[in-house]
């Protein structure tokens, strides 16, 4: 089974015996509740799946694991200049064809009453600007295209 955690792909195949799962010396007991056993100590865990992501709370930490569907091997580029959340474009600081360097501010958008900068993740040339000042954007949409 494959997951993504913070952009990294991880494979895992825990040993399973009925409702008990084992991995790296840790034991997970699965009943109506989840109990994780490490060094003989049991800890309650919480997990819930939302869309393709497992949200896991364990030992005071909250982690998100995206399920990678078997067979799919798309090299989806996480460095895309996408909108981190729904909001409004306040300013576009570049034009199509402009050369930009990693770290340059390309756009400014407003969401949750705060301004957020959209910053170039690598050097390149602006190929397309998908939204203009004043437009509302949804979460996850691509705001600009940047050549490699």
């Amino acid at each position: 089974m494959e997951f993504k955690l913070g952009g990294n792909r991880i494979e895992i195949e825990p040993q399973r015996e009925g409702s008990v799962f084992i991995h790296e010396g840790m034991i997970l007991h699965m009943g109506p509740e989840l109990w994780l056993e490490i060094d003989g100590r049991k800890h309650k865990a919480n997990a819930i799946k939302i869309d393709d992501v497992w949200w896991v709370h364990v030992l005071g930490h909250t982690l998100q694991f995206e399920v990678v569907e078997p067979g799919i091997n798309g090299d989806d580029d996480d460095s895309g200049l996408t909108s981190p959340m729904p909001g409004k474009i306040l300013d576009v600081l570049v034009t199509v064809g402009q050369k930009v360097s990693s770290g340059d501010t390309l756009m400014i958008m407003e969401a949750m009453k705060m301004e957020h900068k959209i910053i170039a993740s690598h050097d390149g040339v602006v190929e397309k600007i998908h939204y203009n000042v004043g437009e509302q954007v949804n979460q996850g949409v691509e705001l600009l295209s940047l050549s490699e």
Binding site: F3, L36, N46, T62, L63, M85, M114
Partner: protein, 495 residues
């Protein structure tokens, strides 16, 4: 005695005020925008009225509409909470002109303190020390002209502002113009006023504020301090009372200055005078917040005074009920934000599929949300405040750590783990909290201090759940029946 209060706010602070109304046996009217329908605060009101329109300007900032509802619903008073219209002198005046009671200080006091430049001048006259800076009247040219005499690093602040909006630190002249423009834009969007002034950035200082109460009989008291130095993006995240930096002498001096500040504007109700305190114990007036403050609970827990209920008493003309104060123990508040602290505190959205809060001794939760609620990008990302009290600061930090460990929130990224790590960070434990602390400790940004075994454990759990079809809930309610086929779930089972 007030009979029916309109609460002109939403979320957590609306809940706080509506509960105070219930306890005081005063009827309450909540107003809510369409996208707040069914949220917790609308539940707690006796009457909840939906606002027409979309966006802040047409709803929570729509003075005319709010006043009409107040009159239509037979309210005798309006409580503005914090943010929104709470520091709008024109609104306070309009409320009074409509024959209603404004639960807050006079429009004159709000105006004087709200205009940060006027406030600086009034404070200087009252003998309250202010931060070195220039009281420029806005406009990009004036800011550029004033900057050299203030020197770098400097702080741009919105004249009409508060809450970190329109505030920018400038370390280098090269960034001044860009940052000033951004600050002006943010200020305009937040307050409808783009004036900016310039102050010296006092690095290594503490943000310490004094809570005051003043009633119509002329009594003005201070209720001790709150230290709110731990801030990210100039917004407080961790607040406590008392402050380790104050001895009783400094506390009394600052308390006296705060009362002098309040008296200088004939203040009435609850208010907060903010100071910066330098490492050598000088203190400078920052601003006065002419409203209830987000972090008011820490003062309530240390003094035993119910500040919101006192606001209601004072507004109705009664004297405040608290006599000689008896301060006790130590209280800490953390602000639970829907944000990603590992990604420069970027606000987050999502649905609170699990929201299990800690309980037990010394725990208080002031929340605007509960399990099942959606966190949208429409409003401030503060979800709730967790407050603890214990006999000593050390026990208070231990209790907060315990409480945050118990807090389970799934479905929306929050700063819970960041707050948890603050609780036993040596600088926090030792009390070395300064306003630049987060940048100082994590100049490259914060990342959770996570042992490999934790992510490994998480991975085990995710894979086990995925392969055994654990915890998939399909809800058949009137609106949703048939939308999700159980068969699609079964199909996705892995061998």
């Amino acid at each position: 005695m007030l009979k029916r209060i309109l609460v002109a706010n939403r979320g957590e602070i609306a809940c706080r005020i509506l509960r105070a109304c219930k306890e005081a046996e005063i009827e309450s009217v909540a107003i809510f925008a369409a996208n707040d329908a069914g949220t917790l605060f609308t539940e707690l009101a006796d009457i909840a009225i939906q606002l027409e329109g979309y966006g802040l300007a047409e709803t929570y900032l729509n003075q005319q509409q709010i006043l009409e509802i107040a009159v239509e619903q037979g309210c005798d008073s309006i409580h503005p909470g914090f943010g929104f219209l709470s520091e709008r002198a024109d609104f306070a005046q309009a409320v009074i002109d409509s024959g209603l009671i404004w639960i807050g200080p006079s429009p004159e006091a709000i105006a004087k303190m709200g205009d940060k430049i006027t406030a600086r001048i009034v404070m200087k006259e009252a003998g309250v020390p202010v931060i070195p800076g220039e009281e420029v009247d806005g406009g990009i040219e004036q800011i550029i002209a004033a900057a050299p005499s203030v020197g770098y690093p400097l702080l741009l602040k919105a004249t009409a502002g508060g809450g970190g909006k329109g505030m920018r630190v400038v370390y280098d002249e090269a960034d001044l113009e860009t940052e000033a423009k951004a600050a002006m834009r943010e200020a305009f969007n937040a307050f409808g006023d783009d004036r900016i002034y310039v102050e010296k950035l006092l690095t290594g200082s503490r943000h310490i504020e004094i809570q005051i109460l003043a009633d119509k009989s002329g009594r003005t008291i201070h209720l001790g301090e709150r230290e709110c130095s731990v801030q990210r993006r100039h917004q407080k995240v961790f607040e406590e009372s008392p402050s380790v930096a104050l001895d009783s002498e400094l506390r009394e001096a600052m308390g006296e200055a705060a009362c002098a500040a309040a008296r200088a504007v004939n203040y009435e109700g609850a208010g907060t005078v903010e100071f910066l305190v330098t490492p050598i114990g000088e203190f400078f007036f920052l601003e006065m917040n002419t409203r209830i403050q987000v972090e008011h609970p820490v003062t309530e827990m240390v003094t035993g005074v119910d500040l919101v209920r006192e606001q209601l008493r004072i507004a109705s003309g009664e004297p405040m009920s608290c006599g000689q104060l008896s301060m006790r123990g130590h209280a800490i508040e953390v602000r639970l934000y829907a944000e990603d602290p590992a990604n420069n505190f970027l606000p987050a959205i999502g649905k609170l599929k699990r929201f299990v809060s800690p309980t037990g001794p010394g725990i208080r939760l002031d929340t605007g949300v509960r399990q099942g609620d959606e966190v949208t990008p429409d409003y401030d990302p503060m979800l709730a405040k967790l407050i603890v009290w214990a006999p000593s600061r050390k026990e208070s930090l231990q209790r907060m750590a315990r409480a945050l460990d118990e807090f389970v929130i799934l479905g929306c990224t929050t700063n819970v783990r960041f707050l948890r790590e603050l609780c036993d960070h040596p600088d926090v434990v030792d009390g070395w909290t300064t306003t630049d602390m987060i940048e100082r400790l994590w100049p490259e940004g914060w990342n959770p201090d996570m042992e490999l075994s934790i992510s490994s454990a998480g991975l085990l759990i995710a894979s086990a759940c995925e392969s055994s079809n654990y915890g998939r809930i399909i809800q058949h309610s009137s609106g949703e029946v048939g939308k999700i086929s159980p068969f699609s779930t079964i199909n996705r089972r892995l061998p």
